[in-house]
């Protein structure tokens, strides 16, 4: 056999790829015109895009922003968009009937929202988690106004209850069950006896007030955001409990949780909203009556909790069984292992699903327009009923649709980014 041995003496360095034809032309040829079917599709698509844009761009680009009514728009130029309706009503679409001079409050709340989410999503800021916890109270006070003391009192109640639990368990060495019961007892007693006088006292000593805003003054995107965000935030702990219950070994607990989840997921949101507006009052003691918005938020929370439970259940199922076994072998109790080991990991895996649930919920907030709350879609009907703008439709819907699109698309891109990041983190 001939000499087949070979040893390389000289290293071949990296060299750049050859430029056969210009890379752009090559790309066009491969992607757009490879084969007759592809070429046909390309031509049809380009023509389709041309037809869509040919009429839309002149209409939108030449839009009139400063007219005062639709009649004026039509007088000036009937062939272009009458964006003046947005120019005139954008504040209403964003804030509803919130008084103009108090706009700084929702805007501040919105900015603080991002600051409060940061510790949850970015590990570097986890130190500031305390801010995320007090944010709901701040948000409620900023948006609805009134005295700061009721909100403060609730936080005080929660902190003192936690303190009671801690003392009962560690100082008096009671078992978890008894400490928990003692804490709950304290919680109720606080509201019956202490809350009232406390608030009255501090209102007198140190009045810190903001202008009180009625719930019916909320509208537009402000309303959508309030319903959406509070729904998701409040449904989070409930969803976790439902997911754990659904997975539980105790048949009764499992049955209750499964029944609840399947019931909520089986009915349309509109029926639950109808319950909120009409029936919820029947389920509460005679004489009590809540704000319609609070009722809507309660039903939206319940609705979202069922879907959240399913997402978290998926996250729990994706966790390797070994995690449960390892934490049990270390001697951690059920609640300890949940709090320290299982939940942090499961929640991290579920974050993309949670963001998707939130996007769905945010879109579903438009349904409150059917029970006559004035979210953007409800406002659109209201604006169209106004004599000045009677007959306008495209411009309004395009504006509202665009706002929703920007929010939802942004959130879904973020969720995909998170999913990619989590995949590379875990492997």
């Amino acid at each position: 056999m001939s000499n087949i041995s070979f040893v390389r003496e000289k290293e071949i360095p990296q060299s750049p790829p050859p430029i056969t034809e210009s890379n752009a032309i090559r790309w066009v040829r491969q992607n757009l015109f490879s084969g007759w079917l592809n070429s046909l599709l390309t031509i049809l698509s380009v023509y389709f895009i041309y037809v869509c844009l040919r009429d839309f761009i002149p209409w939108a680009y030449g839009g009139i922003w400063t007219a005062n009514s639709i009649r004026e728009c039509l007088d000036i130029n009937p062939d272009v968009a009458c964006f003046s309706v947005i120019g005139a009503r954008w504040r209403q679409l964003l804030f509803g009937f919130y008084p103009t001079e108090e706009y700084w409050r929702p805007i501040l709340t919105f900015v603080l929202l991002f600051i409060s989410i940061a510790p949850v999503l970015i590990p570097r800021f986890a130190r500031f988690f305390w801010f995320s916890l007090i944010y709901p109270g701040i948000a409620v006070w900023l948006l609805w106004g009134g005295s700061i003391w009721p909100v403060f009192s609730i936080y005080l109640a929660i902190s003192l209850t936690g303190l009671v639990f801690f003392l009962a368990k560690n100082k008096f060495k009671l078992s978890s069950g008894f400490s928990f019961t003692a804490a709950i007892l304290f919680f109720f007693l606080y509201f019956i006896f202490i809350a009232g006088p406390f608030i009255a006292l501090f209102k007198y000593i140190l009045p810190i007030n903001l202008v009180l805003i009625e719930s019916l003054q909320f509208g537009g995107f402000l309303l959508s955001m309030i319903v959406g965000f509070s729904g998701i935030a409040a449904s989070f702990p409930i969803g976790i409990l439902l997911a754990l219950g659904r997975q539980s070994d105790l048949p009764l607990v499992k049955m209750i949780c499964v029944g609840f989840i399947e019931f909520i997921r089986g009915v349309p949101l509109i029926t639950l909203l109808f319950v909120a507006s009409v029936l919820l009052n029947y389920f509460l003691p005679p004489g009590t009556s809540f704000d319609i918005i609070i009722r809507v938020i309660i039903m939206v929370t319940i609705f979202s909790a069922a879907y959240m439970a399913e997402v978290i259940r998926g996250g729990l199922a994706a966790l390797p069984v070994g995690q449960h076994e390892a934490s049990a072998a270390l001697g951690l109790s059920y609640w300890q292992s949940q709090r320290l080991i299982i939940m942090p990991q499961a929640l991290k895996i579920s974050i993309p699903g949670i963001v998707n649930t939130f996007i769905g919920l945010f879109k579903d907030t438009t349904l409150v327009s059917i029970i006559s709350l004035l979210d953007p879609v409800g406002l659109a009907s209201l604006i169209r009923a106004d004599q000045k703008w009677n007959g306008i439709y495209w411009e309004l819907y395009v504006a509202i649709g665009l706002m929703f699109f920007i929010c939802c698309f942004g959130m879904s891109q973020y969720s995909q980014y998170l999913e990619r990041k989590l995949k590379t983190d875990n492997s």
Binding site: N31, I256, V377
Partner: protein, 404 residues
């Protein structure tokens, strides 16, 4: 060998929570007590509130006269019919929208999903715009927008009048699209149409038999006939041929303008068209995404192994990718059908009388029976969703790949 007596522990109260043998029972008993108390409290409040309002819980209103008209119905109904019948009309309307919506959504969705995977950059991007556009805008907005489009962009019936009308009928003067609804020509079954239908059914059977024959032929000899084109020919040619031989037994009754309205033909209201169209397009975006991710989920190695065996791309898709992808695609798709059915409850926004519009709307308002109507309404949707879940479970069980 003497038997060892095991020490019997005396029962202590702390064992209720501390001992694993008793703990789960204790917790469940506590949970049961809490649950029952909460339910009792809710029911108690409800009874008290109803008593205060002078109402009671009574379903007999379903047999009382409804007294209102429903403008779209699949079964006979007048305003003398009972509320129960009105609810039935509503249920049938809901199911009609859901059924047609699901079919259209699937066809468009599969089409969009496959095109989204195309190598053609423009087509893939267009489909991506379609999917993201529909998915990120609330369904209610789409329903309202499409309804507004149909009512404001279309002419009134009287615009079709006169020697030189503003509006004209489309599809060779057969269909009129107005701002109230669309009028389609309706088929008239003349003499001999029975034979035509017979021929059509026979050609379907022939198609089925042909495919069986072609499969056997391939097993015996390996010859591969162009099944797709021949099946297509069998589907169309006999029916068309016999249509002309029999002298055109099926004719169309065209809608025509009389007075201020159209007469004859099939009348489909704008509210129905808008609702069905919006639901279909919205759901098709989700189905497109499901189809796309289902096909992408099949690992690249499968395509590579099949290519190295010499199979062409279309065969690879048919024999290897699609069978595996369908298992992943079908359950979420059925789940989306359920979502479409639930979303159909938004019909009230365009005035379409679905079950929520009748039972949960006019009936509820007229009789004041909120609790009972809501319970029945939710019961209906629950039944539908439980049926659909059962179908998904059945599908998952019967199409499982062994060993996976």
């Amino acid at each position: 060998m003497s038997s060892v007596k095991l020490p019997v522990e005396k029962f202590r109260l702390g064992m209720l929570l501390g001992d694993t043998r008793y703990r789960s029972t204790t917790v469940q008993v506590i949970a049961f007590i809490i649950f029952v108390s909460v339910v009792f409290w809710l029911v108690d409040n409800t009874v008290k509130n109803l008593a205060l309002l002078g109402k009671d819980v009574d379903f007999s209103y379903l047999w009382m006269r409804a007294g209102y008209d429903i403008n779209q119905r699949l079964i006979p109904y007048t305003n003398d019919s009972t509320h129960g019948r009105a609810a039935l009309v509503g249920i049938l309307n809901t199911l009609l929208v859901a059924f047609i919506g699901c079919i259209i959504a699937t066809i468009i969705g599969v089409f969009v999903g496959i095109l989204r995977l195309s190598k053609n950059w423009i087509v893939a991007k267009l489909m991506s715009v379609y999917i993201e556009g529909f998915r990120n805008i609330p369904i209610l907005l789409w329903i309202v927008m499409i309804f507004a489009l149909l009512t404001e962009f279309t002419p009134a019936p009287r615009a079709f009048k006169g020697a030189d009308p503003e509006a004209s009928m489309i599809f060779f003067q057969s269909t009129a699209v107005t701002n109230r609804g669309a009028y389609f020509p309706s088929p008239v079954w003349g003499d001999g149409s029975v034979y035509l239908i017979l021929i059509f059914i026979l050609s379907l059977a022939a198609m089925f038999l042909f495919r069986r024959y072609a499969k056997n032929l391939q097993e015996e000899t390996g010859k591969n006939l162009p099944k797709f084109w021949i099946s297509l020919a069998i589907f169309f040619i006999p029916s068309i041929l016999f249509y002309f031989i029999l002298g055109g037994p099926v004719s169309l009754e065209y809608p025509y303008l009389k007075g201020f309205n159209f007469k004859d033909g099939i009348y489909v209201r704008n509210s129905f068209i808008a609702l069905t169209l919006a639901l279909s397009l919205y759901t098709s975006a989700f189905i497109g995404e499901i189809v796309r991710s289902g096909i992408l989920a099949i690992s690249k190695g499968q395509t590579e192994a099949a290519s190295s065996l010499g199979l062409r791309p279309s065969r690879i898709m048919n024999l290897i990718i699609l069978p595996q992808a369908l298992r992943v695609i079908v359950p979420p798709m059925i789940s989306n059908y359920l979502n479409l059915t639930k979303n159909s409850s938004l019909a009230i926004a365009v005035g379409y009388m679905d079950v929520r519009g009748t039972l949960g709307g006019i009936t509820l308002n007229q009789t004041g029976r909120e609790l009972e109507s809501m319970l029945l309404l939710m019961g209906f949707y629950l039944c539908v969703s439980l049926c659909v879940s059962a179908i998904i479970n059945y599908f998952n069980r019967s199409f499982q790949i062994k060993g996976l």
